[in-house]
Amino acid sequence: MKRKITAIFLALLILSNDVSAFCGFYVAKASTDLFNEKSEVILVRDGDRTVITMSNDFKGDVKDFAMVVPVPVVLREDQIKVVEREIFDRLDAYSAPRLVEYHDANPCQPVVAYRNEMSMKSMAVPDMVMEEEMDEDASDYGVTIEAEYTIGEYDILLLSAEESDGLETWLTKNGYQIPTKAADVLEPYILSDTKFFVVKVNLDKQQRKGFDYLRPIQISFESDRFMLPIRLGMANANGPQDLIVYAFTRTGRVEAVNYRTVKMPTSNKIPLFVNRYFGEFYQDLFHRAYHKEGRSAVFLEYAWNVSPMQGMKCDPCVSPPPVFGDFATAGVNWVTGMNYESQVFFTRLHVRYTEDRFPQDLQFQVTPNAEHFQARYIITHPAKGDLNCSEGDRYVRNLESRRSLEVKELAALAGWTNPNYTDYITEYSKQFKPDKYAPQRNSFLPSSILPRADGDEKSWAKWLFPLLVLAGVLLLRPKRKREKN
């Protein structure tokens, strides 16, 4: 069942627009739309300069929309921008976990590869909801309006406060619906001299612009802290929330400092039929990985050098990589053209956070780690045509054992089991092995490459390990003999 590279090269020639590399064809992606309660953020970090772009997937009546974001400094008007929503769609499409396909060559005759495609359904749910109209008695509550702007369709206030109760009362009085737990959460921010960036929709402007959706807001500032304040958002959340971070740096990957950053499982071979359910597959895979890592990890889904001078910006490309226009929109201001100074590294992180497992805000660091990574899953089409030759018989036997591994992998990754999967395993074998008493000769595969169907075994070993070390410590314990020098 040797994967036949030549067939894929052939396909390259035919479909040169669609494929960019020989490690498989992209067939489906798991876009962020699959996750409910999610928010998306673009982070740009260069020295102390940070640009944060926040997407609003708010779906209610826009007059109900409001958002409070803690920021380290009072922002000037030119540090706030409204950008187009497309940037998020482009980055998501470019970096989403992907399903790629290979084609086995017919061992009895050469074949031509083909490509198929599918699209994903989507659903989404709003994030923060608050309300309108304000009066001017701010100082009575220890609240200072540091600045006030109208930018695009938004009215923006920058507040500083002396104490959380005052801020809470002021916000409530001015028609912002604050969740009940908010005061407790606001307190630490106020005491660390944080300012509050308060946004609501200017209905006039909004109608004049004629948008029926809210565009993302982008803020930029200088700060030695590289973090995202997730704790405030937890006040009005009732379950886990998904956050997708698209980060751009000059040097390399972004990783969390105060949580563990873990790679998603990748390059696993899974059964062919998963391409009909790839969205569901990735949801379940993520869910299992999330639990396996103790619900407290930050997941790496994509990491790639996207500099203008970089040759291969994805492998395979799910959608076009970010270009100059995208860098400019995101706030990557050091890219000046096709030159070696314009180094850009892109990281996509996926965090599912809850109040109990994420007691601190997310803190990040920029590392020099420029290793590429992608969450990629592989399906392999069996050979087509007549397989009646001696090579063909062997191919069919190997196909059966490969498919049995794929089914096990599917169980290990997504937890999917179904008795009918046996049909998938023996689909071809039945055709070519009519003798039902024929031996099941797949035992030559080393047992170590069989994936475990159950992640629990490993966590058990996790506890055994310290015990083994204890035994080692006792073994290396010295004789009771005091030394004098």
């Binding site: 660390s192 390399g252 950053t261 890592e293 103790g294 020099p368 390990f465 070390v469 410590v473 004789k479």
Partner: protein
């Protein structure tokens, strides 16, 4: 000296236990925490450290049995330091060991070798540390605490770990909980981290670069805790403890002058490197 007495002698050297424990931590990280297993980088750390140690030992005419110390430094680098190429790790190994021979005062090296190597290569921009790499799982913490108990009983430097952790915990609790009003889980989350425990139990307890007297050590560890609290809380440096140790190490000779006590030796037969 007959073979049996050599074995007994060697067995009593706490450095074997330390090598075993650091090796176990590394294995644990690779098996259960998805650390990137790049054999060539780990080899670079070990080979460069040991080779540098041997070269210096030869140059200074010292016996060659100090390889154990070099191994400990190398494993420390493997556990803490993340690099983007083999050469950076090689540089770290050479710098780590050479600092013991080059930066000396009063017959004692000034910096904790691993600490020195890490700080130096981070400044090159090709290395980093991942404070979050241990995650917040319970079994990993158990492992470190267990190992810590073993080793501290051997080298009798538990006063350092205890002082450092108590002072830092006190300061962070005062700031985060009492002043800022965060909940206790925030502080626990900060301390339930393999990186900080490893630092407290295995890095600052190096007997060769810490003050000789207990009073001196308590003062010294308190200063490290205080400085890393300030660097971490007000300058948002996630490598705060490492930088604090680096800076406070400079005061060791002074502390040794004020609080006099006998210098530590690994065992009666080994020399002072």
């Amino acid at each position: 000296m007959n073979l049996v007495s050599i074995i007994t002698q060697e067995r009593n050297d706490p450095r074997y236990l330390q090598i075993f424990l650091l090796g176990s931590f590394l294995t644990y990280g690779l098996l259960f925490l998805q650390w990137s297993a790049r054999i060539e980088i780990f080899s670079a750390a070990i080979v460069s450290s040991v080779a540098t140690q041997l070269a210096w030992a030869k140059f200074k005419g010292l016996p060659l049995n100090s390889i154990k110390s070099a191994m400990i430094s190398a494993l420390g680098l493997c556990l803490l330091l993340r690099v983007d190429s083999v050469w950076v790790m090689t540089l770290a190994g050479v710098a780590t060991i050479s600092s013991k021979f080059l930066i000396r005062y009063n017959g004692k090296h000034v910096f904790n070798p691993t600490n020195f190597g890490i700080i130096l290569v981070i400044l090159t921009g090709h290395a980093w540390i991942s404070p979050g790499q241990w995650g917040h799982g319970e079994s990993g913490m158990l492992l470190i605490l267990l190992g810590a108990t073993g080793i501290l009983l051997r080298v009798k430097r538990w006063d350092l770990s205890l002082t450092f952790l108590v002072v830092l915990f006190g300061l962070e609790s005062l700031r985060l909980v009492a002043y800022l009003g965060w909940d206790w889980p925030v502080v626990f989350h900060r301390f339930n981290s393999g990186t900080i425990l490893l630092f407290a139990f295995f890095m600052i307890t190096d007997p060769k670069t810490t003050p000789n007297s207990r009073k001196g050590r308590i003062l010294w560890a308190s200063m490290i805790a205080l400085l890393s609290f300030f660097l971490g809380q007000f300058f948002y440096l996630y490598q705060a403890p490492l930088i604090a140790l680096f800076i406070i190490s400079l005061t060791t000779p002074l502390i040794d002058k004020v609080f006099k006590a006998e210098r530590f030796k690994w065992s009666s037969k080994t020399q002072n490197i």
